[in-house]
Assembly symmetry: none
Homo-oligomer: 219 residues x 4
DNA sequence: CATGAATGAGCGTTCATTCAT
DNA sequence: GATGAATGAACGCTCATTCAT
């Protein structure tokens, strides 16, 4: 018997072993057949990331399925269409990237230090996850990513953006559209990442330089 | 129709306008005049630019040919493969963009003014040629663009880069790899362009802000 | 819920409505009451009829299952294959149609009146059950219906056919193959039905005209 | 040199051999590359007819192409979609059938003789072209045949229908909708054909019986 | 050199059927 | 017995490229 069934039984305030047996049978008998596996979904996501990294957005669903170790058609149990998969992947990668940036952010203290912390997290996540970074870059220019997905992706970055808004508040870009600051930040991050990847021996230095350049730009 | 072909037609004792039209074409086809291939090549390039802008890199060669007003197969007398076409297009667009940036550059005088001139030219070229900009952005992330093409594209920008190198010589980025500065510049330009396109009423202001941000970043 | 299951639930000392619901299902599933399979079989048959009416014979088993309110795979515990389902459906619809035709047939009396009674019943059944009629029409031309099914379908109509044979006995078609008379009757019925459906205001008149036409044809 | 080119040259009133040579070259050079072959179109039509006869409407385009002796994709140079092919095939078969029925129709004389002539032609065409008849029957119940195609098919039968209208003018079905008479005729023809196919030794007799039955029905 | 029909591998997606739960 | 995820062959259709005309 699985933990889940026991939980359900307990939820109903029932400890009779026989009744629990009924429940087990019941659970199997109604709507509990082989649940969609989170593992498999993740495998598809990862396979798609790798496939996009190596073939671009024209990577075939067949390749993605094969890389994920599932049958051709199974992909469509998890994602309605290729476009749907790509939209979900885009959102997931953006979410992961943002979460990585905000990880262990010092809650208070020097604003500069906070931003540098987030910057470093971000940059190192990108450098450590080259496939994800590359896939994100491709998905970013794809026509298939819907406005809804893009706006959802913006929403996950709200905390991060608040941070940026706070630094902007005192510098030369107070009156510039926020989107300009965001794009500037992205561009600088991209430049920094590429530089670090090309010259990993001085990675830390380049990361710092990138940040300082950003700080000057926004001052 | 040229005088020459009329003469030839008359020589054959034929005055039917349609037949003369045939003759004109025939005369061109047997090399009596230079074939219009340069025109056709350009038409394909432009058609490809538009097609990429509207359909992405997956725009079919059939569509491109149709837009260029030529037959399906004729495209392949001008470009060996689709990839070849895209490589040449990439190089041509980059060349055109660079040339636009360097146009009428004041040969001497204040360095800041020179750079601002190039910056403005660049940004305005991009804003005025949205299809080309969009196509360039797509081609830039394409797997099909060969390293050879990319390095050729770098070469056409040598003059422009020299300019950048001269400003870098005195600021905080003296020791940063030049590629970092280039990527920074690209990122900032992209950010500026998008901002201008979204808010065309303040285009000039955004162009200036972008430049000043770059100047601070590099100082 | 039946009294029986409530008793069982009480026996287990449990009064949660949801859990009792579980138990009811469980009790059924272990054979404490006859499984509702007959109901489900019928639900599938009806669902298939509707599905064929709306999508043709290419209606998917998934759609049929969904319309029947059962799971995808459950369909195959009631029918070995899709073809099997269609064969059974064909036979069932033909049987129902024939039964409808023969309903309340006056046992004796004027032969013409008897036949008109059956004709009317038949035609009105078809007009009142458009989905069934449509499905039957599609199944009739399907390659999947086996000769065995077709001959079984003929057998259920034996009583009806006897009636027809009795009228034939005195007319111009005495020596024609019976199958010709059957096909003639079918063709006329189909023509009558369509005419009635297209002009329902004169349905009764068209039904009569159809019958009289048949009577003349067979005289 | 082909006949066609000579014709064109003559049309232009030009007999100079050299000029004709120009024309040949010209014709090839503009818009005269491998014209869509009528033969191939017909081969596809015939292949589709056979495929539908053996597999029903679910016959795959791949099979049709293979049977037609062309590549998979070539089918789509001749027909935009499978549905398009089926619509054109339906119209063509109906047209052929109608033309067969009306062939060598005696222009004047006994109406009964005229109709019998058409009836015989029709029935014998169907009996001699079993694939076509079968395909037509399948296409007739297909959801993919558009109303436009159906109405076009009606139009080709206008002459035939006029004949029927003339016999109807004096019998019991004067006030019945014409569509009823048409459906009656179809039904009877179908019944007659099947009977003939099943008992070819008495084909002629069955054909006559069918006609007489029709004549009685309509009287 | 221009043309567009021909090619066939490949695409995204569907679906009857199986089977672990 | 019920479930629905899993399967993989097939489907209709597209497309870069070739080549007869």
């Amino acid at each position: 018997m699985t933990q889940d069934t026991t939980k359900i039984a307990t939820f109903f305030g029932c400890h009779s072993p026989h009744l629990i047996d009924c429940l087990v049978t019941y659970c199997y008998s109604v709507g509990m057949a082989r649940p969609k596996s989170e593992d498999k979904r993740n495998a598809i996501m990862e396979a798609a990331t790798r496939a996009i990294a190596s073939q671009g957005l024209s990577a075939s669903t067949a390749l993605i399925a094969k890389e994920a170790g599932i049958a051709n058609g199974s992909l469509f149990t998890y994602f309605e269409t290729k476009t749907d998969l790509f939209n979900q992947l885009y959102l997931e990668l953006k979410t992961e990237m943002t979460a990585a940036a905000m990880k262990d952010l010092p809650e208070s203290g020097d604003l500069r230090k906070q931003v540098f912390h987030a910057w470093s997290n971000w940059i190192y996540w990108a450098v450590s996850n080259p496939y994800k970074r590359y896939a994100l870059r491709q998905l970013n220019v794809s026509d298939g990513i819907t406005p809804a997905t893009r706006s959802a992706a913006d929403k996950v970055a709200v905390e991060f953006n608040d941070l940026i808004k706070r630094i902007r508040a005192h510098g030369s870009l107070q009156t510039a559209p926020f989107s300009f600051v965001g794009a500037l930040l992205n561009g600088l991050a991209e430049a920094t990442i590429v530089t670090m990847v090309n010259d990993p021996d001085n990675a830390e230095k380049h990361c710092k330089t990138g940040f300082e350049t950003f700080w000057r730009a926004i001052s």
